[in-house]
Amino acid sequence: MEAIAARPDPAAAREPPPAAPGPAAWVRRNLFSSVPSALATLLVGAALVRVLPAAVRWLFTGAVWAPDYEACRRLEYHAACWGFVAEKHRLVLFGRYPFAEQWRPLVATLLVVAALAASAHPRSWRRWLAPAWAVVLAAFFLLVRGGALGLTYVDPGLWGGLPLTVLLTLVGVSASIPIGIVLALGRRSRLPVARGAASLYIEMVRGVPLITVLFVASFVFPLLLPQGLRLDPLARIALAITLFQAAYMAEVVRGGLQALPKGQLEAAASLGLSWWQAQRRVVLPQALVLVIPSFVNSLLSTFMDTSLVTVVSMYDLTGALRLALGDPQWRNFFIEGYLFVGAVYFACCLAMSRYSHWLEKRLGRWARRPEASAA
């Protein structure tokens, strides 16, 4: 035994040298690893020391939290007046929806958020998911629209705030993905007509700004409809966002399709799978996982693009804030208002982005080498 200890086998596997432990080592490695890095650390540190206390004072310690206009005015803008948000949050969150009935969009939105949370995990991606979502969306419309089950009718023109933002994003993204997939497959099809039609659509839509599409949908489109046929403005806007987003989705999906090696399709074909079966079982499951980051990109941009609907007199979250700022007494507290709305957007986007990272890792496990299976 001593002999072994004295002459260790040179080929035996050894532990890697330990990384320097402790916070001191971390600081040296990450903050002071070189002269420029040390300088940058000191500079940023100094700036933080100057700015941070003032920011904390403005945002929190000195701020007025109660909806007290007089107290806010006495601040003379030296601190935040969250009283504005406290006073107007219902208008900002729900727009012009009748005040007494605002529990309805609240419940409806919570229902949708709960449904999103429930369907977030791949384990719940089963056949029942589509009908379940149909029920959830029907419930959403029933609650918000009313006119049945003893709920008073609320015209879609009055819907607004966060529920409207959520609704337009959800409908826009979920309906544009299947259309985008079809367009992407069309664009790569061997049939010239399908390829031409898909390309034409994609290029045309991508060449027009969303704001124009919204104008057309709300002012021009009704003129083109045959007499007697009416589509309500909200439906037209949702349709416009969907069709607009579909062109971008198509290009996202096409990127994923192109990234797949040709051998995959050949292997599927050699087994006798039809073109559709090969797309459905082999190509799309891989391509769609590859483009999750770009999907989320589109999702986030749709979420924020919905604020453009204010130009056609719909009051989403941003639009509703402007309504709130229309009150002459409070109109000077727009910074607080925008910070609040910004925080809502940020929280939603951060959640979506974290989720996509998690999903990408989980679904992409097959792409990596052995260790992944250890669990």
Binding site: A267, S270, L271, G272, L273, S274, W366
Partner: protein
């Protein structure tokens, strides 16, 4: 001799203006094992890829199992069910487990119930001695194991013909044998096989006929004993001189 199971007559193919296959005639009888060899770029891969119409020929006739290959999609899909193919790069589906890879076609093309498709897949995996890896994903297997799964996947459709497109060329040397052993077994069971390969040992021990191609033409074809002992053309001698150990 009965009607050949594969029949190519006067087949020509171009990639753009490049003439890849020139007046190729080839007949393969049921149960016959053919090895196709030749320098790279000689059109041998293109030739076998024409047999299940992964490539389209532009002139001539290709008849497989009594069905002529034309633009008719239905007849192409029918042929592909009868013809299994193994690729140089394996082309396993990385998002599916080994078992799902093998059971995919029986489940969706033959519409077998899931249990039946999987039972059949397990049988084929056992046949290539890799049943213990059924639950893994292809990325977790070695090259040799992946290629054996690919063979099982093709066999699972119970094809009458197997095409092999350089099945061992992408493998590390120590894994070549495990794949060749599986192919040898298959040959012993009477499968019709068309194999593009540089493994001349395999050609010697298994092939009924060796086909030598150069510049898109079939230069000569003979039983292996004759082919290796008395190569007729200068090109064949030259090629064999380069790849055979002295």
């Amino acid at each position: 001799m009965s009607e050949p199971i594969i029949q190519l007559a006067g087949v020509n193919k171009w990639y753009g203006r490049f003439h890849v296959l020139k007046d190729v005639d080839l007949e393969v009888a049921a149960g016959e094992r053919i090895v196709i060899c030749g320098p790279s770029g000689s059109g041998k891969s293109t030739l076998i890829r024409c047999i299940n119409r992964l490539e389209e020929h532009q002139q001539g006739r290709i008849v497989v199992d009594g069905v002529e290959l034309t633009e008719d999609l239905k007849s192409v899909e029918r042929i592909r069910r009868e013809v299994g193919m193994v690729f140089q790069q394996f082309n396993l589906f990385p998002h599916l487990t080994v078992l799902e890879n093998v059971a995919l076609a029986p489940a969706w093309v033959l519409r077998l119930p899931r249990e039946e498709a999987e039972a059949r897949a397990m049988q084929q995996l056992a046949r290539v001695r890799i049943a213990d890896q059924a639950a893994k994903h292809p990325g977790q297997l070695s090259g040799g194991q992946q290629q054996r799964v690919a063979i099982a996947r093709a066999l699972c459709m119970q094809p009458r013909i197997m095409l092999f497109d350089e099945p061992t060329s992408a493998l590390d040397p120590e894994m070549v044998k495990e794949v060749l052993d599986v192919m040898l077994e298959l040959a012993g069971q009477g499968m019709t096989m068309v194999v593009v390969t540089h493994e001349m040992g395999f050609a010697r021990s298994v092939a009924d006929r060796v086909v030598f191609m150069d510049e898109g033409r079939i230069v000569e074809q003979n039983p292996p004993r004759e082919f290796f002992a008395n190569p007729r053309s200068e090109r064949t001698r030259d090629f064999l001189g380069k790849i055979l150990p002295r």
